[in-house]
Symmetry: C2
């Protein structure tokens, strides 16, 4: 009886969202560092270390992947189906990447966010990473496709509870249209332009700059900025 309790390895996997070209993207990595093609992508992740909390492991993975120290992240689910690493290909890769005879692997999935134009400094074991539009996510190893699918629901909840995270996906200065397209990409529905302007006008934590777009071949759009201090004050008021 006692021996049937299982001793497992635990990993973290991170779904890092970016936003570009009116589409959500996810940062995927090449599974096999040695090969130079992008036909074998997966979510960035790692086994957890001894004496390491899962949140810390996720921060570590993200740091190694991007060079950013304290990325905003949120745990959203533990995936532990016994056969999730049952594919022979995947088992082989585990043996190679970590150590032989990993009998069982449970993963804790995280959401994270990154300005997609940010220069990433990759010091991880993965040779390279690639921003992939959510509409073009390839078939991935383990249950990574399932994790991505669930992450798309989770990010909606997250935005609802903490709208500030939107601004981690946008440039520091952004236009109303960019913000609207971001909403549209996350919620997958259109928003009326006029109503949207009204909405941001009454969000005190979004303030307009005098600055406008330059070198655009149409009327230049105004830039806005997010005011974290005002945002945080608002929250304690609730």
């Amino acid at each position: 009886m006692k021996s049937s309790f299982i001793h497992t390895y635990v990993s973290v996997d991170c779904v890092v969202f970016g936003f570009d070209n009116n589409q959500l993207h996810i940062l995927l990595v090449q599974r096999n560092a040695g090969e130079n093609d992008f036909n074998d992508l997966k979510l960035p992740g790692s086994l957890i270390f001894n004496e390491e909390d899962v949140d810390d492991a996720a921060h570590r993975v993200l740091y190694e992947l991007t060079g950013i120290k304290k990325m905003t992240l949120k745990q959203f689910r533990c995936f532990a189906a016994p056969d999730r690493a049952g594919n022979p290909e995947d088992m082989k890769w585990l043996d190679q990447a970590y150590q032989p005879n990993i009998n069982r692997l449970i993963t804790v999935a995280y959401l994270s966010l990154c300005k997609i134009d940010r220069k990433l400094i990759n010091i991880s074991k993965y040779r390279s990473s690639k921003w992939t539009p959510v509409s073009q996510i390839p078939k991935m190893p383990f249950d990574h496709n399932k994790i991505v699918e669930e992450s798309l629901n989770e990010i909606r909840n997250w935005v609802k509870n903490e709208p500030a995270i939107l601004f981690e996906l946008l440039p520091v200065k952004f236009t109303a249209t960019e913000l609207r397209f971001l909403y549209e990409a996350i919620y997958n529905r259109k928003h009326d332009v006029r109503n949207f302007h009204k909405k941001i006008a009454q969000m005190e934590y979004i303030y307009p700059l005098d600055e406008k777009q330059e070198n655009v071949k149409h009327r230049a759009a105004r830039y806005y900025k997010f005011d974290k201090i005002v945002y945080n004050k608002r929250k304690v008021g609730i």
Copy 2:
């Protein structure tokens, strides 16, 4: 390097909510089966078995605790702080309950719901269980107090996304006042009686019966029932 990846034990812990006397309760168990006092309570839980998904482990724990086969449940967070089982008392108990030298223990926490007047058939390793009002949760081992704290936020989200779960906490036939008190207990704020009646009148999935309370020393309240079929139709419509 490779050896610093950790092989851990994984458990599930369940926060089972009940509702009685206008208060939320949580089902706690006696940690030490041999002793007959209720001074050492904890959340029901178990290590996971080989070849067992965490969701299945949670279902197993709940079945052994209540005799109910498919309780509604929801995973809400993985707790993995390295020192979460670091208390010597807790380590001693782990050695005794499972096996010696459990070096590290990660837990996946679940929410679940139970009609509190339901007769429970306890076949678990715990001698007995006890419904405890959330206002009177004692100090518990490991990080169980923290888990309970977070579960109270989670249940609010859950109700928002899936109001049907409320009815798993109420008798099959319930009065408007019972439902209102349940809302009040979960959200920890008062609701206006008239507005509340209006609200349930326009929830098509709550329908009034002709039946009323009996043997009450005041005006008898009407009973209502929850219609799962109407509820599910409504959902696909969204």
